[in-house]
């Protein structure tokens, strides 16, 4: 028997031990996560009740701009090499709702005591003016002691919202600036900040937006990350073919085949490989919510470097801009 045949037999032996449950039980993020989703749904119901009871309905500036973002300027950031956030399926927000259009002032829970946050905060509380009203708010990542992780935004008014981000980011998965501050950036110029939560493997890269009273996953990579090396990054910017990451650890230019590409959001997925090189694996266009992906030959541009030591060689990509 040849070695190839023997290896085939090894495959037979291993496969014989496998029992695969029905895929139907896993559709919609079911299966393993249902207890969390049930708990989150219960919390949403409780908070919705509180909102109905107490909530004013004043218009929140910027709350209605979600559907037509203005993408008129180049604004970029990039995650550093981090983490292992892996989340699948739909994201559950535990507070706030599309119906709540008030100033996000009503939400007496969760408090630190209720959540026992002191023991579970994975990222230092960070003062950020989340709602752009001139007063610092805060954002942090915590776990609920059952191993489930949340990105929490708390306004100075006491309004709090948490986004289920799945399993632990290690280290914490908020993208950071070179100053170690979570990178909240108003990418689309709508007056609301966007944030990154990143991880390697699986649904890895997320762009979280605080919009009105909601934390929204504006972008959610529900696909395998490029490469499976030690780190993974996302870079994001707009499509006027300027460098996506001004002053940051990337040097990427994208041009457009067959036309001028403006106003669309570009998201480049990069990852380092086992040898320590990294490159741009694909570029995505978000055109009014429709994501199209252009895969690029992964091109190593040098060892993965932290934000303060950017590679100098540019990676370029051409995107088919045909709508």
């Amino acid at each position: 028997m040849t070695l190839e045949e023997q290896i085939r037999r090894m495959g037979d032996a291993r496969a014989a031990e496998v029992t695969t449950p029905s895929w139907r039980d896993r559709v919609g993020g079911g299966g393993r996560r249902w207890p969390v989703m049930v708990a989150a749904a219960a919390l949403v119901a409780v908070l919705a009740g509180i909102t109905v009871t107490l909530g004013p309905d004043d218009e929140k500036p910027g709350a209605d701009v979600a559907t037509e973002p203005e993408t008129t300027r180049v604004t970029t950031t990039m995650t550093d090499a981090t983490t292992s956030t892996v989340t699948t399926g739909p994201v559950t927000t535990t507070a706030g709702s599309a119906q709540q259009t008030g100033p996000c002032a009503v939400n007496p829970v969760p408090s630190d005591d209720v959540l026992d946050l002191a023991a579970h905060i994975a990222f230092d509380r960070t003062p950020l003016d989340l709602d752009q009203d001139g007063v610092d708010d805060e954002m942090l990542i915590y776990d609920d002691a059952d191993g489930h992780w949340f990105l929490l935004a708390r306004l100075h008014t006491g309004w709090t919202n948490a986004l289920d981000i799945g399993t632990p980011p290690t280290p914490p998965g908020l993208a950071q600036t070179s100053d170690g501050v979570p990178a909240g950036t108003d990418l689309d110029g709508d007056g609301q900040l966007e944030f990154f939560v990143t991880g390697y493997l699986g649904p890895s890269a997320r762009l979280v937006t605080l919009r009105g009273c909601e934390l929204i996953d504006s972008f959610f990579v529900d696909e395998p990350a490029e490469g499976l090396g030690a780190s993974f990054g996302v870079q994001i910017g707009f499509s006027d073919a300027t460098p996506l990451c001004q002053g940051r650890a990337c040097a990427t230019r994208v041009s457009c085949a067959g036309g001028v590409l403006t106003q669309e959001l570009l998201i480049g997925i990069a990852a380092n490989d086992d040898a320590g090189g990294w490159g741009i694996g694909e570029i995505r266009l978000d055109r009014d919510g429709v994501i199209t992906t252009t895969e690029l030959p992964t091109r190593t541009v040098g060892p993965f470097t932290p934000l303060d030591d950017p590679p100098t060689e540019a990676t370029t990509g051409v995107v088919d801009c045909t709508p």
């Binding site: 037999r9 090894m10 495959g11 291993r14 696909e223 086992d274």
Partner: protein
Amino acid sequence: MATENEEEFDVFVTRVQPQLERALAGHLPAPMVGDAVAEALAYAWEHRHRVLPMANPAGYLYRVAQSRSRRRKQGLLPWKSDDTIPHIEPGLPAALSALSPKQSQAIWLVHAAGMTHVEAGEAMDISASTVANHVERGMAQLRSELGVDT
């Protein structure tokens, strides 16, 4: 009653699931393989309009399953002594595990899971020619280690 879509998808599952199970069984403990495959197939259902037309859906779903298993790939799964299989060179599992992770993975996907080089390339996110190189060099090393010609 299953819809037409579901029936079509069931045919797809029948074709892809065994290959996924075999492919993942080299790198994941058996209890995790079933979960990972089910998650990958659920993903395929949810994205069926994109996944089904793919040239190499098995390779792609292999990556999805690996992701869903929440376990980083770390080469071939160690072969326990009580896993002895008749007619297998006693040193083969250990020699296979001792190869570089990419070589052992390529050999496993191609010879144990029956993937083409193109499918294995999709699964490993490398080119088919690179898969061929890994397989060729890995098999040569195995033959050298085990002192066999075939």
